[in-house]
């Protein structure tokens, strides 16, 4: 697919910066996110 071809469907969406991409698999950050997401899910479960 043409990246960033004017008026094409891939022209408009935001794309992640290299830093954002790195953080997605950064072990320390993801360990923290693991805890945060689990807490979020458990809070949701407790709501019922």
């Amino acid at each position: 697919m043409d990246a960033r071809t004017p008026f094409g469907q891939s022209y408009y969406p935001p794309i992640p910066t290299p830093f954002t991409k790195r953080m997605r698999t950064n072990l320390l950050w993801q360990l923290l996110r693991f805890v945060v997401i689990n807490v979020k899910i458990l809070r949701m479960v407790r709501k019922h």
């Binding site: 969406p13 072990l27 899910i41 709501k47």
Partner: protein, 485 residues
């Protein structure tokens, strides 16, 4: 002594049967009727479909679990419900057709005092000409289908290794499909695998779906807080597709799948076609086609079931325009209004209407997703219904007291975007409530504190944990009750 019969041993049926068995004394009987001898953790079929798991890793045999817990297992498929019994018979019963080897096709009457219908969906490939693994497209809805899809993917990869360009098409095979989340996971896992196998540049990957926009997922999408804005899931999803170089076609109703070519109509009335080398298109769902008869043998199917085959429960099924839909339309106790000892949970109950706004093409073709019913709500409603049935069976209550409306329930969904312990990712989504409530939350329909989405390796770890956790729970291993639905 009374007898609870649970039809179906999927996520909802297994949850209901295990909780009911745990709560009921041995003077009561719990019977499970299900055609398949194995339990399947369906969410991991995605990984079977790309070859990172084998069918044995996502299934286990049911009989040992039922022996251990004291549940009677009838390996059969229910064909009809007789809620009034038959003149001369002692009470209500279900007619079942054996599926066990050696007894296949034999019919039997299974009497019940209480009935929980958790038969899930019929995979309605027949709704679209040429759709499905026995015709011209692949599926990942069952572990067999997924194993077949994995083989086809290997063959496509082989062709790419030889230098051929391939078009891989993934999405929904009909204008009224649901479960877009599963197709979303599959396309991202396919893309991840192609990169891992070093052939990504040889592949054109296309998403084809009945959603109005990407990120709808059959629930009108969701709004989340992101970078100082409240953003629709469309933005997030388009970004994920663009980043991976995946093209998308939305608002599409597939009319026919021919070998290597799909024809579809779009919401603006255009008729188009697309050639493909590998095509995984989900089927629309309907009820499994149970019939119902009164004591005199008269057909009362329409009293128990909606036209789409799903069971009518305590929802508001009056036809009304989108503007008049209310969270209150959604069922709370899943009790049949016609027979108070009959319930339906999981995918088997009839939703009162869609969640995404219904849309119709100029030719009158409905093109919009039907409501998704994912694992977590299926489990929660099954547990609450089991508790209500136990209370009624033991004489503690005369009517259901616990409620589990999707309008007051949240859901968490972890959508895999690639399986690898250090490089994999998954989108972790939470929504509350599942049914948007624009009165309580005027701008977004949902509570922003509990509605979120992010992608990362942590999501993949959670998805893996859920795989092992839910298989452990469904096996009723020690402390299974501590694992939430």
């Amino acid at each position: 002594m009374s007898r609870l019969v649970v039809l179906g041993a999927g996520i909802a049926g297994q949850t209901a049967a295990l909780h009911a068995r745990r709560k009921l004394g041995r003077d009561h009987e719990v019977v499970v009727v299900s055609p398949n001898s194995r339990w399947n953790w369906i969410p991991s079929n995605i990984w079977v479909g790309v070859g990172v798991m084998r069918p044995e890793q996502v299934t286990f045999p049911l009989q040992p679990v039922y022996e251990k817990t004291g549940i009677t297992f009838v390996q059969a498929k229910a064909v009809s419900v007789h809620p009034e019994g038959r003149s001369g018979s002692p009470g209500p019963y279900v007619t079942v057709e054996q599926t066990e080897q050696g007894r296949a096709g034999e019919t039997e009457m299974v009497p019940y005092d209480y009935l929980i219908n958790a038969t899930g969906p019929k995979l309605n490939f027949g709704a679209t000409k040429g759709l499905g693994p026995s015709a011209n497209s692949l599926s990942v809805c069952t572990y067999d289908h997924a194993a077949h899809a994995s083989k086809a993917l290997d063959e496509a990869v082989e062709r790419m290794r030889k230098g051929e360009k391939q078009t891989l098409l993934v999405g929904t095979g009909h204008g009224n499909c649901t479960c877009q989340g599963a197709a979303f996971e599959y396309i991202f896992n396919v893309e991840f695998e192609l990169r891992r196998r070093g052939v990504r540049e040889k592949a054109r990957i296309v998403w084809l779906s009945n959603e109005h926009e990407l990120g709808d997922f059959g629930m009108g999408g969701m709004f989340i807080r992101r970078g100082g804005y409240v953003t629709h899931s469309r933005v997030f999803t388009e970004s994920l597709f663009t980043e991976r170089g995946i093209e998308w076609v939305t608002r599409a109703h597939v009319q026919e799948v021919a070998p290597g070519e799909v024809s579809f109509e779009t919401l603006d009335g255009e008729e188009r076609s697309l050639k493909f080398d590998f095509g995984m298109l989900l089927p629309p769902f309907s009820g499994v086609g149970l019939k119902a008869y009164d004591a005199a043998g008269g057909d009362i199917t329409s009293r128990l079931f909606a036209a789409n085959g799903f069971m009518l429960v305590d929802g508001d099924y009056a036809k009304k325009p989108y503007e008049e839909w209310s969270p209150d339309d959604w069922p709370k106790t899943y009790q049949s209004p016609a027979y108070p000892n009959v319930f339906a949970v999981g995918i088997a109950f009839a939703p009162p209407h869609a969640i995404s706004k219904p849309m119709t093409s100029p030719k009158g073709t409905p093109i919009f997703p039907t409501p998704p019913r994912t694992g977590m709500p299926s489990g929660v409603m099954a547990r609450e219904v089991a508790f209500n049935v136990v209370d009624m069976m033991t004489g503690k209550e005369k009517a259901p007291t616990r409620k589990a409306s999707l309008a007051h329930m949240g859901a968490a969904c972890i959508a895999s975007a690639g399986a690898s312990p250090l490089r994999g990712t998954a989108v972790s989504m939470t929504v509350f409530p599942i049914i948007p409530d624009f009165k309580a939350y005027p701008d977004t329909g949902r509570e922003l504190r509990y509605t979120s989405g992010e992608i990362g390796l942590a999501g993949h770890w959670i998805k893996h944990l859920l795989h092992f956790g839910f298989i452990y729970k469904a096996k009723a291993n020690p402390l299974w009750v501590a694992i939430p639905e």
